[in-house]
């Protein structure tokens, strides 16, 4: 990182008005050429894909600036190289996303059927079986976590925006930030350590999982609701006060409804964030093969845990377990994407900007 470099060569001699420019088509043409060469290398010479991608990147990095250097001069060449670098960085980030989507869909579709969604694993050793118990478990645990987190999160945000002054508010703001960084497995250990005191060291149940997820969810809810409440114009609060309305009624009847769409978006994104959490549930809810709808009693499966164990303990023969793992991963992926989509649509329709 050369953040302090001040270009010293900002002289007019180098960027003359009559200086040569590369034609507009030069960039796309170079890219097409490199891609075609790379494809040929992969198909004909059977070169390993990562190597080809790496070499292609290098080729782009060299050719475009080199061309520019010849025609446009050093500073332009430098600029082109940066453009290539920055664009490549972005494209590189999209690669894993693309490959994730493709891999999960390809592998998951094999067992993503009605049977998978409507049966549990009772008595299944090899082929067949489904994730009903895991889907229901995920919905119950995440639902409970939402019920715990949303009121606490919203009220904390209300405190920070509407009431918070002085040291307590500053401390809470800082700690909410720190709480966003708590490793998920620590949240699971916390729930375990808490409930083990009352129920002994073999405690495993759904509510424990909900508590662990809440530790992860509350700070996310607080942050997004806080940002939404700050967007509510002060004039509306004043209009309400001027009608002789008390502060708490102003918050409940004016401020919160005005921010409602943004709050809904934030809560949905928070749910999407925790619904895929595996580590804490591994510790405190455990895993089971049968449908359990009672979060107060006994082990409860969930989609991430089901995915994890279907892969690590696949049964005999192992293919069927791995197939179920991918199908569960696909189910989870679809749920998370759906939640993200819902959040986008809510914020788009009701016109409230999200915090991102």
């Amino acid at each position: 990182m050369t953040t302090t470099t001040t270009p010293t060569a900002l002289t007019s001699s180098e960027v003359g008005l009559n200086q040569g420019r590369l034609p507009r088509w030069s960039t796309p043409a170079t890219i097409v050429a490199v891609v075609v060469l790379g494809a040929l290398a992969t198909l004909v010479l059977d070169a390993p894909v990562p190597l080809v991608v790496g070499l292609g990147v290098l080729a782009l990095l060299v050719t475009l600036p080199a061309l520019a250097w010849v025609v446009e001069g050093r500073r332009r060449a430098n600029d082109r190289m940066w453009t290539v670098l920055v664009t490549l960085a972005f494209a590189l980030a999209l690669l894993p996303l693309l490959s994730l989507v493709i891999t999960v869909t390809q592998n998951g579709l094999a067992r993503f059927d009605w049977d998978f969604l409507t049966t549990d694993m009772r008595g299944v050793l090899g082929e067949g079986g489904g994730a009903l118990h895991a889907i229901v478990g995920t919905l119950i645990i995440t639902g409970l976590a939402t019920v715990i987190s949303v009121p606490i999160g919203i009220m904390t945000a209300v405190y920070l925006v509407e009431y918070g002054r002085g040291r307590l508010a500053r401390a809470i703001t800082l700690l909410v930030d720190v709480m966003t960084g708590i490793p998920s497995i620590v949240a699971g250990l916390f729930a375990f350590a808490l409930f083990a005191i009352f129920f002994g060291p073999s405690v495993r149940f759904g509510i424990g999982g909900a508590v662990a997820l809440s530790v992860l969810m509350i700070p996310v809810v607080v942050r997004s609701v806080e940002e939404m409440l700050k967007l509510v114009p002060n004039e509306l609060r004043e209009a309400s006060y001027a009608l002789g309305v008390s502060q708490w009624r102003t918050i409940v009847r004016v401020v919160l409804p005005t921010a409602a769409a943004g709050i809904a978006t934030g809560v949905t994104l928070a749910i999407a964030r925790v619904i895929g959490e595996t580590a804490p549930l591994l510790i405190i809810t455990g895993s089971t093969n049968i449908l359990n709808t009672d979060p107060t009693d006994g082990r409860m499966s969930s989609l991430p845990i089901f995915t994890y164990y279907s892969y690590t303990i696949p049964g005999v023969p192992p293919e069927f377990g791995v197939e179920r793992a991918w199908a569960a991963a696909l189910t989870l992926f679809l749920i998370v994407m759906l939640l993200n989509l819902v959040a986008r649509v809510v914020s788009r329709i009701f016109g409230s900007p999200t915090s991102r």
Partner: protein
Amino acid sequence: MTTPATTQVGGPLDQGPPAEPRIGSRNRTGDKIFSGTATAAGITILVTLAGIAAFLLYEGFPALVAPAEDVPGGEGFWPYVQPLLFGTVLAAVIALVIAAPLSIGIALFISHYAPRRVAAPLGYLVDLLAAVPSVVYGLWGIFFLAPQLVPVFRWLEQTLGFLPFFAGPTSATGRTMLTAGIVLAVMILPIMSGVNREVFLQTPRLQEEAALALGATRSEMIRMTVLPFARSGMVSGAMLGLGRALGETLAVALVLSPAAVISFNLIGSTNSSTIAANIALNFPESSGLAVNTLIATGLVLFTLTFVVNFIARAVVARRKDFSGANA
């Protein structure tokens, strides 16, 4: 009251609720209850964080004071946690080294290179990476990424084998420390590029225009104004990413095949585990003092991430009106 007399518009309507004749000190119980509830919710946060530290300490304490031979591994707690701590930091540092330059590039692309119309949807695509569940990352790492990387590792061993990092012999499965680091890098890209994007966009427009007016090219303008302006933001973004990489569990647990060693060899088949992955792998089958030991390692991890996050937030806090918490 169907036709209000026009002379009386807005005047006292006899049928209306009787206005209070005198200004009184009305009962403000509602306000007190509501603000009390809000304050209590805020204090819940404090209590929860204190509770996490307290309960982990309470349940982990037996392992800290137990005789060395009773702790798993038979050599006491600190020898047990050292290789794990090493693996945790190593994986996170690899992730950070890969993700830091990439996240700056991604953020610059969205803030200064992409056409304005597509910038927001592109940013949303990067954010989607944060939404993918970690167990899915784990499967992807094992089945897709690791096999793809094996030839690259071979090449690294042959070409750069004189470095301890690439000493080899190359793992046949590709499930190595470097693979885990790459998966972690992908996972922390969204939060880091999100923070960077936010600070880049805050560069004062006037400064940028001043640089352009001097005849700077776009890259020169970025190096003159955007990057120096965003330095502390980039540092704290990196710390946030580091904190997340330190605590990530399942992706590492699935990708690595761990052993209790300290090794700088990034592409071999013998790798250190991380604290979080070690807990996930061993907790379900543990009982007695082994559970206390795992909780104590959790306490070590909690302390580590707390410190890293605290530093990151302290750096951020010096910039007002800025929050990267939701990236």
